[in-house]
Structure formats: structure tokens, C-alpha cells
């Protein structure tokens, strides 16, 4: 099996976080946003979730830094630009801001809200 390529940190900064287009905004205030995202079940569950009438959507509430991070994800801003924004607005060192940004984006991604995409070939 071929080894998966390891991306260098420099290439990683060129990635663009993309919003899940199916996320629906339920409520938004200055300090909080409530979003709704479709629930996906593993394929091997087959028709079981449908037969058991399992929920098809879940609500996610974002506030604080997670909300600010979500607002920065606009399908155009690269990871490097988000890191620079976080470092300057929160007075953090670059690498600390880089790791924090990755941590926040990983959390958003685990909730099905964003995905890190490579748009460098799109010009």
C-alpha cells in the first residue's frame, strides 16, 4: 500500500477551510450561533437508523473563540491567514496561534461544520 504523503507545515498553511454547505443557521446573536447539521451514520448501519427513526439532524451551539473561528471560515481565507489573524488579535506567537487554530478547526470539523480543503490548484 503506498504511504500517504505527509504535508509540510508550509503547505498546510495554504489550505482553505471550507464550510459544510449543508449547515443551516438557526439563530445568531452577537455572542452565540446555533447551527443545524445533518447527522450521518456509518454505511454499515444500513437502514437501521431510518427504521429506528434516529434523528437526522443535530444542533450545534458556538460561542466565544469557536464562533469567531467559524466566522473566519468563508471558503476563501487560507489557514495561514486565519493563523495570522488569531496571532495578532489575541497577541499570541505564530506557532502557538497555528496550533490553536488547528485545534479549533479540528473541533469544528469533528462536529461536521468545516473541512480543510486544498484550493491551491484552483488559482
Amino acid at each position: 500500500m503506498p504511504a500517504s504523503p505527509i504535508m509540510s507545515p508550509l503547505d498546510q498553511l495554504k489550505l482553505v477551510p471550507l464550510r459544510n454547505a449543508k449547515v443551516r443557521l438557526i439563530e445568531e446573536t452577537a455572542v452565540r450561533a446555533i447551527l443545524e447539521v445533518d447527522v450521518t451514520y456509518p454505511r454499515w448501519f444500513g437502514p437501521v437508523p431510518r427504521l429506528l427513526k434516529a434523528k437526522t439532524a443535530k444542533k450545534v451551539s458556538l460561542d466565544g473563540m469557536a464562533l469567531l473561528m467559524w466566522q473566519r471560515v468563508d471558503d476563501r481565507t487560507s489557514l495561514g491567514q486565519i493563523v495570522d489573524w488569531l496571532a495578532s488579535s489575541e497577541q499570541l506567537d505564530f506557532n502557538e496561534a497555528r496550533l490553536l487554530t488547528l485545534q479549533f478547526l479540528r473541533n469544528l470539523s469533528m462536529r461536521g461544520l468545516v473541512v480543510l480543503g486544498d484550493r491551491t490548484g484552483l488559482g
Binding site: P9, L10, L13, V31, D63, G64, M65, L68, E90, Q91, L92, D93, F94, N95, E96, A97, L99, L100, Q103
Partner: protein
């Protein structure tokens, strides 16, 4: 931003934008690695030795070995003296070394920089090496990852937990007194969520501390919270008898740098304590 590094009695002022990205903090043999954004800038290692080594021979030997391992022909390293430092370099663009011996501490400090670009006085490595302070005094300054504390020499670092945005470093002496310093980034977001005193209570709860008193105050012009607390003693008898050790904690919001800083001290009732009521 410029930051300081003070560890095991030696200290440096780091050039603008340099960050510590890796560390090994063994007091006998440890190291720090430094990056500026994603660019590798330097490595600092320290070794405690029984006696002063032949520093010039060591510098030449390290340079030769580095060149050999990179497949280069052996080139005699040129060694120049800058203050207490011996700087050994070979060719332009090749890694170079700076070594010094701290006699009172029997510690060899060794910087490795990735590329020799000349000897101009305004190069970052020149100002970095010139900033060395190795004070043999009774108190040591410990400064790492945005935390800073001045402690009697009997204290030593026992645990470092450095995660992005959250740093916790614990120092202890042989009498069982421990001093913990903390630094939290994203302070404005944290304090929008809950008050400083509430964060202190949560931290104490996580550390199994019992808060006896909390007082809102000011420290160095910053809004602060001071708490008296106790924990179950950590020595065998105290642990068995559930004898409690008294402690004090200061947490404050450094608004200018957007950080929450904290210093906590706890230990056996009769053990001598460090004075932390002053800002610093």
C-alpha cells in the same frame, strides 16, 4: 514580539519573533529548539560536566562532525571569540556553533545556528549571545513560555505542561513546597465566559484544592484574585492522616498582553515560603 528565556540560572533575550518549539528540560542535559514562524533558527543545548572541557577543541570537533555527516569535505573550522562565547564556523551557509562555560554552575551552553552568514554586529545571533546573563546569586529567574518567576536557588523545575494557549510549570524544593505558575492565552474570550475568580475556583477544583477564602484585589495594576486554599499533604504520613497543607494563589489579568497569569504556592505548614505578594 521579543521574549525572554531564563532556565537553570542562565537567561537570554530572544530575537524578535523567535519561539521555543521543542524542549527537553533535564537539568543535566537538555535542549530548546527555536523557530521564527516555520523557519528553524537555532538549537540551544546544555550539559552539566564534572570540569571545564576544552571548549575550542569541542567547537572544532562538532563543526567537523556536522560537515562530515552532511557529506562535506573536512574544513578546518575558524574559531572567534565574542565575549564569553567561542564561535566556530566553517563556510558561508553551513551550520555554526557558539559555546561557553558557566563555571559557577559547571554547565556548558552550546548554541547551533543553521547557517553562517558573516559576523555583523546586528545579526540576531550576535545580540542573542550578548544577552547572556548567568547570575550566581541566591535567587534564580525562571522564564519560559510567557511565565516568569523569581525563586530561591533551592527550587527546581519538576513539571512543564506547555500546550497552545495553556502553560503550567511547577517548581519544588526539598522541603515539599511547590510553586506553580500558569499562563493562559485568549484571556478576553475566557473572561467573557466567566470571571477570573470562577476560573480560579475551577482550577482549584481540578487540582483537588479546597478554597478557604477568595479576595478580589489588584496586582501590578492588573485586576487580580487572591485565594487561600489547602490540599491534602503529599508526603506519606500527611496523605494517610489527611493532614492539609496551606497554600496561596494569585491569579491576575494582564490586559495589555491579553493573558491570565497565575502563581500558586503550597507546602507543609512549617516549611519556609516564598514571598509573592509583590507584582513581578
Amino acid at each position: 514580539m521579543t521574549s525572554n528565556l531564563a532556565w537553570h540560572g542562565f537567561s537570554f533575550t530572544l530575537p524578535h519573533g523567535w519561539e521555543i518549539t521543542a524542549y527537553r528540560l533535564d537539568p543535566r542535559r537538555g535542549e530548546f529548539r527555536f523557530h521564527q514562524r516555520l523557519i528553524d533558527r537555532a538549537q540551544l543545548t546544555w550539559v552539566r560536566m564534572a570540569g571545564r572541557p576544552d571548549i575550542e577543541g569541542l567547537a572544532r570537533d562538532i563543526t567537523d562532525r556536522q560537515l562530515r555527516s552532511a557529506g562535506r569535505d573536512k574544513v578546518g573550522a575558524e574559531v572567534v571569540k565574542h565575549g564569553p562565547w567561542l564561535v566556530a564556523h566553517a563556510a558561508r551557509g553551513e551550520p555554526f556553533q557558539a559555546l561557553t562555560w558557566i563555571a559557577h554552575d559547571q554547565r556548558l551552553l552550546h548554541w547551533t545556528f543553521p547557517a553562517w552568514e558573516g559576523d555583523d554586529a546586528d545579526l540576531p545571533w550576535r545580540t542573542l549571545l550578548a544577552s547572556l546573563v548567568a547570575d550566581p546569586g541566591d535567587t534564580l529567574r525562571w522564564e519560559l513560555f510567557g511565565t516568569a518567576v523569581l525563586l530561591p536557588r533551592r527550587f527546581a523545575a519538576v513539571e512543564v505542561d506547555a500546550r497552545p494557549g495553556v502553560v503550567r510549570i511547577e517548581y519544588a524544593d526539598s522541603a515539599g513546597v511547590s510553586v506553580t505558575v500558569r499562563r493562559f492565552g485568549l484571556a478576553r474570550s475566557l473572561l467573557a465566559e466567566r470571571q477570573l475568580s470562577s476560573w480560579l475556583r475551577r482550577s482549584m477544583f481540578a487540582d483537588k484544592g479546597r478554597i478557604d477564602q477568595v479576595q478580589e484585589t489588584v496586582r501590578g495594576g492588573c485586576p487580580a484574585v487572591r485565594a487561600a486554599f489547602s490540599i491534602i499533604g503529599e508526603r506519606t504520613f500527611d496523605r494517610v492522616a489527611w493532614r492539609r497543607w496551606p497554600g496561596e494563589a494569585w491569579w491576575w489579568h494582564d490586559e495589555a498582553r491579553n493573558r491570565i497569569l497565575a502563581i500558586e504556592q503550597v507546602g507543609p505548614p512549617k516549611a519556609p515560603r516564598v514571598e509573592f505578594s509583590h507584582a513581578g
